[in-house]
Symmetry: C2
Subunit: 162 residues, 2 copies
């Protein structure tokens, strides 16, 4: 069930208790966790684990191509273990919820050579933005994103209301 763990072993990546736990957390949930959330879940299983190890492991897994970093517009990056299935993201502008999506028509997407500026292009990332059902419904309540890191909620009025 945990393909990530198997792939890592197969690649000869030195496995340790800490790394195995992190890999299990990543592969076991269907949400896009932040480093801090991964750390919290890891601590619950291995109290001695350090934040530095979590950050180091996430960084290495990203470099190995086993993990995708999602920047969205929130403060903390989120990690997507679904790197083996090419996909894109749909993000709620209000609460930060992220969904994996497979858009249609991306095959036609291309960068004309006149727009390449000599770059060696290696990939494309597509982010759909919008409002998830709960956020689209309720206008006023504060975003439900974890640990107060939700998007801005101030108005765009030119002058404040009376």
């Amino acid at each position: 069930m945990n393909g990530l763990l198997e792939r890592l072993r197969k690649r000869g990546w030195p496995m340790t208790a800490q790394r195995r736990i992190i890999a299990e957390i990543l592969a076991g949930e269907h949400v896009h966790l932040s480093a801090e959330e991964i750390f919290q879940r890891a601590v619950a299983r291995l109290p001695e684990i350090s934040r530095a190890t979590v950050y180091n492991t996430l960084k290495t897994l990203t470099e190995l191509g086993e993990l995708l970093e999602i920047s969205s517009n929130e403060r903390a990056k989120r990690y997507d273990p679904n790197a083996s299935d090419p996909h894109h993201h749909l993000i709620c502008q209000r609460c930060g919820l992220i969904r994996d999506v497979h858009p249609k028509g991306q095959g036609n997407l291309s960068l004309p050579s006149g727009e390449r500026y000599g770059f060696h292009v290696t990939g494309v990332e597509i982010m759909f933005r919008g409002l998830c059902p709960p956020c689209a419904g309720s206008r006023d309540p504060a975003p439900v994103s974890p640990r107060g890191s939700g998007p801005s909620r101030s108005s765009a009025r030119l002058r404040s209301p009376k």
Copy 2:
């Protein structure tokens, strides 16, 4: 020449010395600056200006739709004053350089209803990733991004070389 400034005046946005300077900095350069870089350039012209004013102004301009925030994968957000011309971005994974691009075929891009999860989709962002010519050429040297905020430079080797 500075369309941004004119648009803001036309919209009745209360102009001040600080805001004018920030708008001029944004419209005058063809790069995507971070808040800190904008602050540094502003201080050179108006030494009393405060960081808070820069952040407040950038936030308001973004809410007004005159400015685009780009998250890429670096720590600091970058600001794109080119909001009046719909476009996307090409980003160097190594040094963080950002170019505005107009990809072909994005009209065919769509999210089938089965992939919408009930979201009210408001927009799409496309980011091409790759290596700019200097970064593609020189393998070893450190990234040339400003103030040490460049992307990771460690290797992805499973074990360090001897």
